[in-house]
Amino acid sequence: MMEVYLDNNATTMVDPLVFDEMKPFLTNIYGNPNSLHRFGSGTHPKMLEALDYLYDGINANDKDDIIITGNATESNNTVIKGIWIDKILNGDKNHIITTEVEHPAITATLKFLETQGVNVTYLPVNEEGVLEAHTVRAYIKDETALVTVMWANNETGKIFPIEEIGEICKEMNVAFHTDATQAIGKITVDVQKCNVDYLSFSAHKFHGPKGIGGLYVKKGYELSPLFHGGEQMAGKRAGTVDVASMVGMGLAMKLATQKSAIDYEQTVVKGYRDQLETAILEIPETLVIGGKDNRTPNTTLISIRGVEGESMLWDLNQKGIGASTGSACASESLEANPVMNAFGSDSELAHTGVRLSLSRFNTQEEVDYAIEVIKAAVMRLRHISSSYAYAPESHNSQL
């Protein structure tokens, strides 16, 4: 059976070139980078090279920091809790602005701060699932310590107006953080052009290893660290650096953000995504959540009436295809996909979302196979579905 991975917004496969780059640091060059001997210092050239790739990847200035962290969740926590410690606990500020559709790494952290007395504004998104930049301006006040807005949404792929929001924050003198986890490697990310003060990313979303990420901090915006300990990362993030993963992340960043890679995403990967989407949209009563404009080229979130998301995943998995739904009824909280709720979309459709997210490793053959399997699954599940079930006219349907 063919296996097709269409869940690249959850995680990606490690590029074989990246893995090759990492191997020496898991075998021969195992020294601690802080040690004063050849075993340790042997790691330095490739670590420095990795930093070059990371700085280039997001167009960071050499005067700025890119702190190596465990993942984007840690990066997000470092910014939000750092702002809390440095700007809010001292009484200067007491307000943070975000959106209703952030990843839990942002939302849950802010919910925690709310229990500590911090005011948080969750800005609504429009019917396309995007925050309109002017809304941010309306909510910034003197007490606002931070604006944090995702660069691209994990569920829909919708791209947020980061450059405009950055401009507004700069003008109004409020620190601006963006979680760019879903943007890097799919679209161009430029911290200088967009006036970003803090930016989080995670290697495993762009064909690097899991367990490593980064936090960009603009010069002058340094915060108290989340982890205290040794002097690694100039004291901004204690803990021995995972050298192999850092080196892997560096190369992964280069491979994902060089011009040819972004071009490939925008043409070939987008082409595959569009083929899948077009084929599904040929089925009656289907729609792209949030519409087709202004999305990352690899992502589509499609609602298929009458087909519950988790049962769709089951059928796809039985045929070797991995996809995702934001509304799995297995979770303890049977909340519909928050993104779909935030759109104010038809509640009937809230549990019918299927997310397909591709990568540069998908092939035409895989796309053709996936189209065939998806169509068959929709046929089967709609045949079982109560949404399309017979009832005589006399029946008072309560579904």
Binding site: C329, S333, L334, I384, P392, S397
Partner: protein, 326 residues
Amino acid sequence: MAKGDLVSGSIWDEYSNNVIKRMDDPLHQGEITEERAKELKSKLIIADFGAESCGDAVRLYWAVNEDTNVIEESKFKSFGCGTAIASSDVMAELCIGKTVDEAVKITNIDVEFALRDNADTPAVPPQKMHCSVMAYDVIKKAAAEYKGVDMESFESEIMVCECARVSLGTIQEVIRINDLTTVEEITDYTKAGAFCKSCIKPGGHEDREWYLVDILKDTRLEMASDKLKNAADASQNGEASFDTMTIVQRIKAVDAVLDTDIRPMLVMDGGNMEIIDIKDNTPHYDIYIRYLGACNGCDSGSTGTLYAIESVLKDKVDENIRILPI
């Protein structure tokens, strides 16, 4: 939380083969039309439960012979996850050949049991147990439709946990009898809250009328108030023992003995004493006192007088009393 909770996302690994088989190929999926019901000389019953907007909906079709009340044919349609489909399938199957009254007795626990590969291993992980509840609810709905009654009439007790079918009465009783103080203990004793967890507290899988946290809180409050009432009644009837008394009652009891047996002696010598605190220091009751007036500083306060006070209280109030002057 424990070792078993740390790696998540394995729910599909816990399905029985029977669940998987029925998800992939449900045997009783389908419809019964009015024409088909006529062929069977039966009445067509259609019952709906759930809603797509909630993530789960099922439609049950029965062809019921009105002379015998036997369900001749039973089919379903389902909008839901794989477990919902498998549960509906086995539910429809269990109805076939039963009278409507017999079918109403099928519970979600029967549905889950019928999905097992062997009697000892659950067919679905705990968080999926809830899917079988809908299968049970739609049967009640169909029976109510057939009999022209309200579906609530089939349930005489308030079910707090539908997955494990634990009633409000049972939960209140185990809290009282076993002096339970946490929701985890309720779950250990009754299995309520062990499955989809909706009934533990608001904000879970679905909204409930009753939550374990509230039942626990209310029952504990009632227990505390009952305890006070019992203590007051016992004291009124002169049956109170020192260990069941409230702190106020204890102070009063000690003071009463001091007033009759001790204070007159002390006052004659130009002194007195007061109770500062009574502490339950199992197996002892430590009574902290302070001497007043001439007693304050008197050597006997830590020897003879102290011994006299303690022995009178041991004799008349409780033998575990110790007196500690401060």
